[in-house]
Symmetry: C2
Subunit: 449 residues, 2 copies
């Protein structure tokens, strides 16, 4: 068969990278659980009806068909492209068995058949935490989710994540105050600001939506506003627009910014050009970028959605708010730049050497004793010369090699392969340092500018 090459857009990691990924996932899980979010995992597939419920034709969905499908058998299932729609469906489906407000987290893969490029995968991990309430979801949740997103990302061994916050009501109210009718279309154009620039956004607003030059300039002026605290709302008010929805959005944004005032300076910023594309958000919206890696796009996102669950089967209002960390995008970048890794490629802390085929039982017994006390180890495959066995440990960066009843001494000996020091050790009592017992994440230095 031909040489096997990777599939573009479907990243896979080597064992040391996967160990780092698992630790990242463990830490996210830890933060979510500290906040009282309970885990769920939804199936990978959803009926196409649900996936298309919000008319999200910009998402490339993978449709499933059985290889031996009978003729005329319809394809009705697709792989989910995010974790919010499956969660909303799960809530609508299991409503009677859940306690509201529901606090859940969900760390799993999603799929999109998009053209792969840096940071944009066809299969990727997301880590989501959401709250869904019945009827009403207090604004304090917007504050808490902002703190959670900050805390969850800053607990990771990655560059600092800057969270940018906006509120869709500000945009909607502002556009309405300008007399612009098609709010989604306006949003869609302004959302392209980073990609196409201010002049082109201005042109599109005027040509496609017949917005006046003055109004287009106002839209651009709004999109340029940034601020590190709640006084940012004054800058927006200074643009002179008045609308009930705008006022509501400003109050909400001020509340959120006030709630994060004790965080490190500029770790959460108000950024009025954040819109979140075609998504289902209705209020607070988030995007986060990784310092020094802004060009790969947002590494986390989220926001409030007041109508999503109802739109796919819920009765009554089920407002929600959620945050999502793009695990694969973060790791793809950091692994690629060698800025993150694990300090060994095996969970084993000890390689038990094999003196001869006849004494395999001795080596196995040492391994059993070490494992019974929680020390991961493996026995060398073959009774090769010890130099070769040590080199095997070095290649996997297993820190210790154990020599059962070492020749000449008759007692067990242990070698630290990093220092080369070797001495007697008892398999019933020896314990490595905590930093050697488990695999450690290593952060690389950023390349000099």
């Amino acid at each position: 068969m031909a040489k096997i090459t990777p599939l573009k857009g479907f990243p896979e990691w080597l064992p040391d990278q996967r160990m780092a990924e698992l630790q990242i996932i463990d830490r996210l899980r830890r933060t979510f659980e500290l906040y009282g979010f309970a885990p769920i995992e939804t199936r990978a597939v959803e009926p196409l009806d649900y996936l298309l419920a919000k008319g999200e034709t910009d998402k490339e969905i993978y449709v499933l068909r059985r290889l031996h499908a009978t003729e005329g058998e319809e394809s009705t299932l697709g792989l989910h492209f995010d974790l919010t729609i499956p969660f909303a469906r799960f809530v609508a489906q299991n409503r009677g068995q859940l306690t509201f407000p529901i606090r859940r987290y969900q760390i799993q893969k999603a799929w999109r058949g998009e053209r792969p490029q840096e940071g944009r995968y066809r299969e990727f991990y997301q880590a989501d935490a959401d709250v869904i309430a019945e009827n009403e979801l207090g604004l304090h949740h917007d504050a808490e989710m902002t703190l959670l997103l900050h805390e969850a990302t800053w607990a990771l061994p990655i560059p600092r994540v800057i969270v940018r916050v906006n509120n869709r009501k500000i945009l909607e109210g502002f556009y309405r105050a300008l007399g612009i009718e098609d709010y989604p279309a306006t949003l869609r154009i302004v959302d392209k600001l980073d990609k196409i620039g201010a002049a082109e956004v201005r042109r599109l607003l005027m040509e496609q939506l017949h917005v006046s030059a003055e109004s287009a300039d106002k839209c651009l002026a709004l999109a340029e506003i940034r601020g590190t605290n709640s006084s940012v709302v004054n800058d927006i008010r200074a643009l002179g627009m008045k609308h009930e929805i705008l006022d509501q959005g400003l109050d909400e944004l001020a509340y959120v910014m006030d709630a994060v005032r004790d965080l490190p300076p500029a770790s959460v910023v108000a950024d009025l050009h954040i819109a979140r594309g075609l998504d289902y958000y209705t209020g607070t919206v988030y995007e986060g970028v990784m310092e020094g890696h802004e060009h790969i796009g947002s590494v986390c996102s989220g926001g409030r959605y007041d109508n999503l669950a109802a739109s796919i089967g819920g009765s009554g209002k089920l407002p929600g708010i959620g945050v999502s960390v793009g695990v694969s995008r973060i790791l793809g970048r950091l692994f690629g730049e060698k800025l993150l890794g694990a300090n060994r490629s095996s969970p084993a802390c000890v390689l038990v050497a094999l003196t001869s085929d006849e004494t395999r039982g001795e080596s196995a017994k040492v391994a059993r004793l070490l494992r019974s006390r929680g020390i991961p180890c493996e026995v060398h495959d073959k009774a090769a010369p010890f130099g070769k066995q040590i080199r095997y440990a070095e290649r996997k960066r297993i820190p210790f090699v154990w020599f059962p009843h070492a020749e000449g001494t008759g007692v067990h000996e242990l070698r630290d392969i990093r220092t080369g020091s070797q001495g007697p050790a008892d398999p019933n009592s020896w314990m490595p340092d905590a930093s050697d017992l488990t695999v450690q994440i290593e952060r690389g230095e950023p390349a000099p500018v």
Copy 2:
């Protein structure tokens, strides 16, 4: 929209069940890592070529197609139906970056478009551990994998798993000694013994494969042999057949049975009717059943495959051996029978009560203090009467409710909702028992017979 119903064959668990599942997965991961297996995770999709490489037409594969596929765009990818083929492909693909023998574990979902029934899902979790070597894989790996499979399943809070072992070489050599040429076809028929019974197997062997009545009886006699130690090979030899491959298989089985003699009696048994269907195994094969739940079929399986990796892109011999625990089949059964669960439906150990909207800051501060010391908690959503807040904790079985600056006392008070006892507590120092800090798995009593 219509009422949302579950999709048959795509199991989903409620939060307390998912917490139990995560603990099961954590324990499997723990055992695999103690044995020095390193994690990998492969993409969900494989080229159809690889999935069909072994002519496994009995597996129902899900094929992927982009919803907006251009006309004539071919579907070349399918969801994997196990984790062994993806691992073999991963090894062939990354050979230069891996240290042999490769010890890897992999806990993730697989998909099969089969007709759903009890214990047979279209989407399911598997937990696999495999070793793949270059050129040669010593028989001691067969012994170690048997121990690992026993240890991994007995470390779980589930009924005892009995591991049944056989060796394909015994079957092949035995059939050949009988002069039967079509070994795979014979295997396939004998494999149906449990389903269709001895008389029917006999009939099929004679009619379809033209096996003599005497030979068919010998095949059935072999399939009926069971043993709890290596003396089982004497029972097989007593059937009087002689063949080089048979002898090799008998030696291997005896070696494996000798290696497990210190395990609890009858936890690993030789069972000559285990064949593992059409799979790619070439020597040792495993199947495990859960005591008291044998009718749901095997809950773990595995075996040695000497030619798999080479068949999908590896050059030279890459023999391997692996075990696989059917997490979803085990959990589906135990959840369904209420034999397994978690003792609460939230990771939160404490519900911080909310006295009034004005004092939300006080409650948030208590939560922050508790979280900073590793105690998961949530703040009640609304300033409802305390009785209602306590009932919320009861519904989620959160063990403690915290009253910040409790009315009348001015100090913090903590209530254990199980006993109703309430007293002063300091958010800077209070620590729950370990059994309350984290969610505990609860095992139900089996129903009386």
